[in-house]
């Protein structure tokens, strides 16, 4: 009861409040939703399918570069470029996934391979003049042009990322209750038993990979349009890869709201830390590292897990 009321209130606040927020707060909120979105996308493969990718930046970067290059070279609107980037990322994800899963890579070995692929893309990006090498690409943003995914002011971007997040959340929720969701859970829990129960483990994992990489790429395009600048290190580097998995781990991998809760905790924390220790680069990531260690040690099911435990205990009393 309380949860439903709180939830409705939160949603209402997220929709109605932002026009009233001062610029800085709006920026932080956009940041929170952005990392929540990436976390939700990562969660489909990492939390639901149980395959922990350490290289999700590969898909993010493919999305960002595809839409930006199409915009710069042929003037294609990023709204369409976004979808194309998603498709390309999904194809790359299927390639990476097929190679890994077909050859039986699991657990940490899969994680390392995803890291390797992301790094390879980064190195290619840095060394390819056609995509701007390490100087990166600047996305035109001087004039407002909604049809070209360019807006003046931050508010439109806020509502876009809110909508993306809401859709990704709805998709996750729907999948969780569907045949695919049960297949994912089975594969995550015990692949051999899943196969015996008729679940095609390879196909299931690949489906999760395709969805996850598609969604992540959309996030890349959003980033490119919002920040108006991308380079190989930002797009393919560890900050995105790690930033995408942290909210899900802290909030609760394999749950619908986990990445959202995780981002609402982590992102403001990082902002506060950076503000408090002005000019001290790295303080926020240092905190993330400590939080990661603490969460794994004491709260392996994340925040959602903690809430569930409390409820279960209260229920038993």
């Amino acid at each position: 009861m309380i949860a439903k009321a709180a939830g409705t209130l939160a949603v209402a606040a997220l929709v109605a409040l932002p026009p009233l927020l001062p610029k800085y707060h709006l920026e932080v909120l956009i940041s929170v939703l952005f990392w929540a979105y990436l976390g939700i996308a990562w969660n489909l493969l990492g939390g639901y399918a149980g395959q922990f990718s350490f290289g999700h930046a590969a898909f993010f970067g493919i999305g960002a570069y595809t839409s930006t290059l199409l915009l710069l070279q042929v003037g294609l609107t990023p709204w369409v470029g976004m979808v194309l980037g998603g498709g390309l990322a999904a194809a790359f994800g299927l390639f990476e996934g097929y190679l890994s899963f077909r050859y039986g890579l699991k657990g940490p070995y899969f994680s390392l391979v995803t890291l390797a692929f992301a790094e390879m893309l980064r190195v290619v990006g840095v060394n390819t003049k056609a995509v701007g090498s390490s100087l990166g690409l600047v996305v035109p943003s001087a004039k407002a042009a909604p049809a070209m995914f360019m807006f003046s002011g931050k508010l439109p971007y806020y509502y876009i990322i809110l909508a993306m997040g809401a859709l990704a959340l709805a998709l996750t929720w729907k999948i969780g209750r569907s045949r695919l969701g049960f297949s994912l859970a089975a594969v995550r829990e015990n692949e051999d038993a899943a196969e015996t129960a008729g679940v095609d483990a390879l196909a299931t994992k690949l489906r999760a990979m395709a969805l996850s990489s598609f969604l992540t790429a959309l996030g890349g395009t959003f980033y490119a349009q919002y920040f108006a600048y991308i380079d190989p290190t930002i797009s393919f580097g560890p900050s995105v890869s790690i930033g995408a998995l942290l909210p899900a781990i802290v909030g609760g991998a394999g749950t619908v709201l986990g990445p959202v809760l995780g981002s609402f905790v982590l992102t403001p924390l990082s902002e506060v830390t950076r503000y408090a220790l002005r000019g001290r680069a790295g303080a926020d990531i240092m905190l993330y590292g400590a939080i990661l260690v603490l969460v794994i040690s004491f709260l392996p099911q994340g925040i959602v897990g903690l809430v569930r435990d409390r409820r279960a205990r209260a229920g038993r009393q």
Partner: protein, 291 residues
């Protein structure tokens, strides 16, 4: 591509390869006993390099001599990390243990960034520029010392594992954890020692390269990845395989740098990594246990 350039590439590759081998040996040892992939390995190396730098900058201690201090210091740090962070979580899911070491890596790397900023620092000693020619190839003395020292340390460690009681206990624990406990080996202590030893290895490697390698918070990251590639190539838990693998990867990287423009040499290393993981996951020389 002249023979001279090729020779130079081979020489450079062998020189850096020894260091990769030592770094990877430490990682391999940790994996062999604890069965975890230590993401924080490179960060420990970085901390050791900073320690070497500060000992030099503040007290004039020669980097090679400072190894006498750094090795035991980082052995102790490794033991502490293992006991405080890793051991309490030893029954956690594999991917969670990986995240644990990732968290440590993030923490240490950014701690260094916060404390000492991102500026590159260098240790300049009298012999920093000493070199001699072998045919058409230039051999820089600090690199030679680093590679040689690394190989020496690795061989020393190998002997330690073969000949001493503690060494045998480590190997026993790596091969047969339950049996090891049954014969009275103090499992907790040996597990801590393995992380300590692995950290000491990578710390020595770090100290050895400071005369010619820049010191910065992110320096560990590149060695981290190299170490993973070497360990996978040499066989997880295969100590000598790691040393051999180090030379192979060093050569591959160096030859890649000679033939490919820019930083594309890294692609060569990553491709080796992916190919080995896919088609020969036990490594070229076989791991200590099946994957």
């Amino acid at each position: 591509m002249t023979w001279g350039l090729l020779l130079q590439a081979v020489v450079s590759g062998l020189l850096l390869g020894g260091v990769y081998g030592l770094v990877a040996s430490g990682l391999s040892l940790i994996f062999g006993v604890l069965r975890i992939i230590n993401f924080a390995h490179g960060a420990v190396m970085m901390l050791a390099m900073y320690t070497t730098y500060w000992l030099f900058a503040l007290a004039g201690v020669d980097p090679y001599l400072s190894v006498i201090l750094t090795a035991p210091l980082f052995f102790a740090l490794g033991v502490v990390i293992q006991k405080v962070v890793i051991e309490p979580n030893r029954s956690a899911a594999e991917h969670n243990q990986l995240l644990l070491t990732l968290g440590l890596a993030l923490f240490f790397e950014n701690l260094a960034l916060v404390l000492w900023q991102g500026d590159f620092r260098t240790v300049r000693v009298a012999y920093s520029n000493a070199s001699f020619m072998v045919g058409e190839a230039l051999v820089e003395v600090p690199r030679l010392v680093a590679s040689g020292g690394a190989v020496l340390m690795a061989v020393g460690l190998f002997a330690f594992l073969r000949l001493t009681d503690v060494g045998k206990a480590l190997r026993a624990l790596a091969e047969e954890p339950e049996g090891a406990a049954l014969v009275g080996i103090n499992v907790a202590r040996i597990r801590a020692a393995s992380f300590g030893l692995g950290s000491a290895c990578v710390a020595v490697a770090g100290a050895l390269i400071t005369p010619f390698f820049y010191v910065a918070p992110d320096v560990g990251e590149s060695f981290n990845i190299m170490a993973f590639v070497v360990v996978v190539l040499g066989g997880m838990g295969n100590f000598m395989g790691a040393l051999a693998g180090g030379f192979i990867v060093g050569l591959a990287e160096s030859l890649g740098a000679a033939f490919l423009p820019g930083s594309l040499k890294q692609l060569v290393v990553f491709m080796i990594f992916v190919l080995v993981l896919l088609f020969r996951p036990q490594g070229l020389f076989g791991g200590s246990r099946d994957r």
